[in-house]
């Protein structure tokens, strides 16, 4: 079986964990597959992996789906738990997976300190700009103007640019792609996993149920089309003016 294919990664998922709890059209399923494809293409064994996740939809990507050791912890704290496990047993390949609420809001302090500490962890942030599980509240990455149940007239606060935050905090690998850019996303996750320090992958993922339908983005397909239109590569962004970049999202490897 060719590594990274759907038929090959199926054995990396616990059969009893199906069906997934994700809503129809959720981008997390694509990310869930992309992470497994990356591990499979690297030829790594799930037996040597530890997946740590917190609370929220993103935390359910590995737990209970992945057929590996999983540690599903308190809201915002997976990087702290992962740090302890990795420091005590450096042979474990430790990956933290969580949403923007978990990783960047309640867990923001652990995120920047993890980056500063630069121990060998990979953090994958499933950034959908919304608290999905609790019903669609604003997060620190909700776009300005975005309508949520707690910002019915539009979000007045500015969002974090998570990748740039991580660059500033000292992460030694930083990349951002969306679930529309699956091949690039898999490549970035592979690079992050192989990187011998704190690596961060920001995966933009769509939440049509809690975010899309409140923001005229409509169907799951429409949300993926939005990523296709809004995302520009680092190289292309260099040729664009600030005005042209205003509603764009820059994707690529920021530190590698």
């Amino acid at each position: 079986m060719k590594p990274g294919t759907t038929s090959s990664i199926k054995r990396m998922i616990r059969p009893e964990a199906f069906a997934t709890p994700f809503c129809p059209g959720c981008g997390h399923g694509i990310l869930m597959g992309a992470i497994l494809r990356a591990i499979d293409e690297l030829g790594w064994s799930m037996q040597e992996m530890l997946f740590v996740s917190g609370i929220g939809c993103g935390g359910w990507i590995p737990s209970p789906h992945y057929a590996a050791d999983t540690l599903h912890v308190t809201h915002g704290r997976p990087i702290a738990f992962a740090t302890g496990a990795k420091l005590y047993n450096p042979r474990l390949k430790v990956v933290v997976i969580g949403g923007d609420g978990d990783i960047a809001s309640i867990g923001g302090n652990h995120l920047i300190h993890g980056a500063r500490r630069n121990i060998n962890l990979t953090v994958i942030c499933a950034n959908n700009g919304i608290y999905g599980m609790t019903g669609g509240q604003v997060t620190p990455t909700t776009p300005q103007g975005g309508r949520t149940v707690t910002t019915p007239d539009g979000n007045q606060e500015r969002p974090f640019d998570l990748s740039q935050l991580l660059v500033a905090a000292g992460a030694s690998y930083v990349a951002r792609y969306s679930v529309y850019h699956v091949r690039q996303l898999v490549r970035a996750i592979k690079a992050a996993l192989e990187h011998p320090g704190f690596s961060f992958v920001e995966a933009l993922t769509s939440c049509p149920v809690q975010y899309g339908r409140r923001n005229d983005l409509g169907t799951p397909v429409a949300m993926l089309e939005y990523y296709r239109e809004a995302c520009v590569t680092i190289a292309r962004a260099r040729t664009m003016t600030q005005e042209q970049l205003r509603d764009k999202i820059i994707i690529g490897e920021f530190v590698s």
């Binding site: 530890l50 912890v73 738990f81």
Partner: protein, 383 residues
């Protein structure tokens, strides 16, 4: 095949007499008990534990020290390390302990062996960082959300800061629970003699490859990450294999009852008290005390006896579960029961559940209770 259980290991610190601070003795006790991972965050009056660990742990093979960004991360890292196979510990004081409480609940729910040291200081909040208090008795008992039983120990000497830390690790590993060592600034910063034995008795968590890690037995065996068990560890309600069962009534009730039951069913083994000076069958006064206050109470009882009163001390070595059996057995022998403690009566209320006429003597000004004060309080009441 099941492995683990009791074994005797050579002590790390040189056997014999030492002169040491309480916080340092706690750190040495942890080292003797095989503590392989310590994470902490600076806080008075517990900082010396972390500083001592920072000096000592990295020189011992396979042991890890980490200073984390806050107390939330400190206990989180310790739980992560415990599941990676370490005997793990963190240490703090009241304000930091408050921050740890959510993850204390996580450790209870996931049956993670862990030692949490709280060197109590005067609060609430920042309060008086360098002053003693015993105000966290109920925070230790009920601080985390949900319904649970907890084990908390109250050392009264530098010797016990060492030996009770060893004991805390053994209880944690034996019952797969977080154990709280509830010290106070008085004991933490006290310097006195410590005698170290040549060997230390330690309990190692049970392992049984393939067995259910969260049920089927009262205290299930505990695999570690990296052993190929495909562990599912979650703070959500789960079944014996770790699968989330977040809307099944039976799963919730079964888990909560087993987690509380494994402590409740072993009260005889866990709860320890020490009765001193109470030589007579009938006593004029029984003092019930713990931690630093028990030192003053012991001295006060001696003075009262010198003056002809039949006085005794019931010391609570284990604070939680509460020593109901001992209080019920001894209190009826005494005309008066007095509970001196550096708070507004947290243990007193537990005693009054059993002995309604018991009285307290409280001090909340950040100073320890002296023997003279207790003697005066007894005389004012009893004579």
């Amino acid at each position: 095949m099941t492995s683990g259980g009791w074994q005797t290991v050579p002590s790390v610190l040189k056997p014999g007499r030492h002169f040491m601070q309480g916080d340092e003795a706690c750190a040495e006790g942890a080292i003797a008990a095989g503590c392989g991972f310590f994470a902490g965050y600076p806080i008075t009056p517990a900082t010396e534990i972390m500083e001592h660990m920072a000096r000592r742990l990295p020189s011992l093979p396979g042991r890890v020290f980490a200073q984390m960004e806050d107390e939330l991360a400190s206990i989180g890292a310790a739980i992560g390390a415990s599941w990676a196979g370490a005997r793990a510990m963190t240490a703090t004081s009241g304000p930091g302990f408050s921050l740890m409480l959510e993850n204390l609940g996580y450790a209870i729910m996931t049956e993670t062996p862990l030692v949490i040291v709280d060197i109590q200081r005067a609060g609430p909040s920042t309060g008086q960082a360098t002053r003693p208090s015993q105000g966290d008795v109920m925070q230790a008992r009920w601080g985390a959300g949900g319904d649970y039983e907890i084990i908390a120990l109250a050392p009264w000497s530098v010797q016990e800061m060492y030996s009770e830390t060893v004991h805390a690790f053994n209880l944690a590993e034996r019952f797969r629970v977080p154990v709280i060592l509830l010290g106070d600034e008085g004991i933490g910063h006290l310097r006195e003699k410590l005698v170290v034995e040549g060997e230390t008795k330690v309990y190692t968590r049970l392992k049984a490859p393939g067995a259910a890690p969260f049920g089927e037995r009262e205290v299930p065996p505990m695999p570690s990450f990296g052993e190929g068990e495909q562990l599912l560890v979650t703070g959500s309600t789960h079944d014996a294999r770790g699968y989330r069962r977040t809307s099944e009534r039976a799963a919730q009730a079964e888990l909560v009852e087993r987690l509380a039951g494994k402590i409740a069913a072993h009260r005889q083994e866990i709860v320890r008290t020490e009765l001193s000076l109470a030589d007579e069958e009938e006593l004029d006064v029984l003092l019930i005390a713990f931690g630093f206050s028990a030192r003053s109470a012991y001295r006060a009882a001696q003075e009262l006896r010198h003056e002809g009163q039949r006085a005794g001390l019931l010391r609570l070595c284990t604070l939680w579960p509460f020593a109901e059996e001992a209080v019920r057995a001894v209190a009826p022998r005494a005309q008066h029961v007095l509970v001196p403690e550096m708070n507004r009566g947290q243990v007193l209320r537990e005693v009054q559940r059993l002995v309604p006429e018991a009285r307290g003597y409280h001090r909340t000004d950040g100073e320890v209770i002296t023997p003279d004060e207790i003697v005066s309080a007894v005389k004012a009441w009893c004579v």
